[in-house]
Amino acid sequence: MTFFDLARRNVSRHWLRSILAVTGIAIGVVAIATLGIMGNSINLMFNDMVSDVGDTITVSPATRSGTTELTKRQVDDITRAVGANRAIPFATTFDSVTVGETKSGAMIYAIPAKDIPFLLDMEAGAYPKDTGSGCVIGKTLAENSKDTGLKLGARATIGNETLRVVGVLEERGMGFDINPDSAVIVPYSWYSNHYDKDTYDQVIVKVRDVNDLDAVKEAIEQKMNRRENVVTVMDTRGILKEVFAAVDSITVFLMGIGAVSLIVAGVSILNVMLMSVTERIKEIGVLRSIGTRRSEVMRMFIYEALILGLVGAAIGGVLSFGTGYMMTAVFSGNPDYFFNPTSLLYIVFGMAFGIGMSAVSGIYPAWKAAHLNPIQALRHE
């Protein structure tokens, strides 16, 4: 007869009470694991976005420099600073786009024709050339303009000059550099002639090796901002770092909610254990009188709390697989994130927290039982 055996028998003697306590822990574990997994999935989703554009540095005029434009010379300096990496300068404007009778407005990106293939992918048609008078349009713009006739091959008048739509871009989604889905992309040479401009708004630097990102940034800073802050250099990772920080806070907040439910479960175990001690005061007196040590009585009650915690955590762990998978699928749209080890770790964490919570809840009742006066305990009715 071991103390573990005694604890186990007492748990099954009060089976209804035990089931309720176990249910509490299981719910707590499910809550903490599922909410953790949910936060982690969102995190992973952003992470995937970063790896898509993680090789990008943007260089724009510094806010305090008093200008919103980069000169040809500055762009040349940047191009030299980034060495073998490709620097893609561009300018933006907003202008009217007329197809046939229909006139509307659109964002215009002007990018050197030779650089466009390094930045954008075509879905249909060809890239525009510096020499020709062609432009390409974003996917969303193309889809939204079916009625107006702005499509591959159409002739569109931008400002007062007519260009032919030679290509439609692949959908790119929200980016940290440019958002071409609803825009018209024209060769920079055409833009320069048409608007009589030779400045740029921003330079996008595509870094060949992501590990060089910081070195390239440093090189640009060195070249451009040595004397005064002329340009602002940002990398997409830096921007996303802030997004991650926000997502992390959400995850912590969500897990906090889960933790609260586990603490409530812990209190219910504390309650069950205190009831168990009160009901068994006489039994504790007998155990002590026949030579059971305080530490052994304490162990017996801790075991009891641990049994409840272990069973609850095991059930909660199994259920978390289902709820975690479901939540991942719903919130991130990609259930595969659930099988990422960092997600699954939240189940282990939830279970460990549940077991730990039960053990902690068992300490006070166990201590109380162990320190009962054996004579008074024996007299207890």
């Binding site: 003697r13 026949i290 030579g291 040590r293």
Partner: protein, 244 residues
């Protein structure tokens, strides 16, 4: 039933027993116990001195509140005196730590209670083996428990029954078996027949008498029933915390 279990009378026990034959198993020296209560201190034991020789059968009688139970608790290392000294086989126990007193209870003292006080979650044989499992392996404990239960004339078929499934007399036999399983020197009984009919009570008293005569156990029994004193070598009367 001498074994090499720690704390029990072991291989070198005969010489120890011989040495202790002149040493009283219990000696109270001017022992007082005062319980401080808000309404005023209660003197449960008032300068009690007494000596118990090994192998004695002593009945303790007295009205309720006369200090019989407190005396028994002190003898059983469940409580320590406010003043005075208590010696168990020459060893002073009045200032021992809780763990040391617990060890003494486990190894040298057997308790028999009026209400049997068996652990309801355990079967008869598990109740008996419990004190042994605290020190020894499970296998040998089970053997010894069965042996002692048979000594108590408990039907083998009842060994696996829980206390709730046993009659009062059967429960008290199991309780006595539990008290004896560690082969203690001292058997302390608090009204062991108080909850039994007279026929069963007599059978239990016969059993205790036999343990005293044949096994050499020192028995100290608190009782309200004067008839039970017939089994005792001597009777101690208590009044107001003193020996009358």
């Amino acid at each position: 039933m001498e074994t090499d279990r720690p704390g029990l009378i072991t291989v070198d026990a005969p010489s120890e027993k011989a040495a202790t034959s002149s040493t009283p198993i219990l000696r109270f020296e001017d022992v007082s116990k005062i319980y401080p209560l808000p309404a005023g201190d209660v003197v449960a034991l008032d300068h009690v001195s007494l000596t118990v020789e090994p192998g004695e059968f002593i009945a303790v009688m007295g009205p309720s509140g006369s200090g019989k139970s407190t005396l028994l608790n002190m003898m059983g290392c469940l409580d320590v005196p406010t003043s005075g000294k208590i010696y168990l086989s020459g060893q002073e126990i009045s200032r021992m730590s809780d763990d040391d007193l617990t060890r003494l209870r486990r190894d040298r003292i057997g308790f028999v209670f009026q209400q049997f006080n068996l652990i309801p979650l355990l079967s008869a044989v598990e109740n008996v083996e419990f004190p042994l499992v605290l020190t020894a392996g499970r296998e040998e404990s089970r053997q010894r428990a069965i042996e002692v239960l048979r000594m108590m004339h408990l039907d083998d078929a009842l060994f696996s029954h829980r206390p709730g499934e046993l009659s009062g007399g059967e429960q008290q036999r199991v309780a006595i078996a539990r008290a004896l399983v560690n082969d203690p020197d001292l058997l302390l009984c608090d009204e062991p027949t108080g909850n039994l009919d007279s026929k069963t009570g007599t059978a239990i008293m016969e059993l205790l008498g036999r343990m005293n005569r044949e096994e050499g156990k020192t028995v100290i029994m608190v009782t309200h029933d004067p008839r039970m004193t017939e089994y005792a070598d001597r009777t101690i009367q208590m009044v107001d915390g003193r020996l009358a």
